[in-house]
Amino acid sequence: MKKAWKIVLITALCLLILGEIVLGVGLLSGGSPDRVWETASEYYDFQQISDFLHSDAVQGPLGQIGLQIP
């Protein structure tokens, strides 16, 4: 179990570092989160996703275990 934990943590750490580096490069090279959101909203209906997350089907079980989506 210890070995498995080590492998998972090391893999996650490497992936996180890689992701942060790529994120940093994107920001430095002129990327804009607003532009990304506008383009993504053309493909995804975020309102529908938000309604689903706040629906009783999801909020009910989460509320029973003490969780809540803001």
Partner: protein, 352 residues
Amino acid sequence: MEVTVINRQSYMAEVSSLLGLITDEDTRTSLIAQMEHLFDVAEDEDKLIQEIGNPTKVAVALIRYADRGVVTPTAAAVVAPERAETAHTEPAEPVNADAFHAVEPPQAAEAEAETPVEAGAEEASDVPADATPVEAEAPAAKAEEPSEPTGEEAPPAEAEAALETALPTDAEAAPEAAAEPIESGTDGEAVVALEAEIISEEEEPDETAEEAALELEDQTEDDFDDVPTEADDDGAPQTITKTNGLLVVLYLIPAIVIGVPVFLALVVLNLALFAIGVGALGAGVGIFATAFLGFSVVADMLLLLGGGASVFAVALVLVWLAIWFLLRVTCGWIRVVVRLGKRFCCKEVEVV
């Protein structure tokens, strides 16, 4: 001294076979040649055999002489017969092994009888530095051999006189003779003792290593043998587990009251963790996939790719945490309840 009826041929055959322990062939050949010469010059062979002793004793002394250059009275009887006679009458002088010089052939010794020490020094200098005294003697002995068939035999007395000054004195030989255990032992014991002495020096490290390995194997085997096992434990009494029904009922009530809610809480917590982990995994994959939807700016794509990878890493840890929680905490709680119950309700009874 033992008196054995033996002729020259038998005597020389036995000595030659025993001298096979000497690894250096030249030394062995020279010693055998000296023995032969001794018999050649002797007036009475039987008397000579009686004087020098049994062949085993002589061979052992010669081997020691070849190995370490130590001249015992027995060896001196062969390599320096006249000196061996005077050793009993003259007082012993301090011996230096380095003072030993090469033995010269009789005809050379006759020419150099006036300055035998200097000639010996020259002979020694011609010989390699690490050569033993007997090895230096070997060329002289070899030169001596062809001289015999030609008939030019130098008087043995003059050759022996050269040997007297070349060989170390018997001061060392006297205590050596006194301390020599082989002299007093039987033939078989003498040979065995010397062979063991020669061989043991070479094989001792191997033997000790082998012995240590064997001891370790024996020890580990003993250790394994000493570990009690159920199959081998014939001496200990056999036991069976008996369950008390009343105690089981008594235990079940609090076990259910306390154990089940705790178990359910742990399961719910586990499911929540798992849900969060799976959700994060889905979000990471979704963000990653969005980068390839149709963004025109590469920088925006990089933002999405980097963000997706970061979320995926966190999700991985969360999912693994959920699995670990299930295996260790939830299943561990069940194991604890069952173990407590066994300890409370079951008892081991010896079977008579």
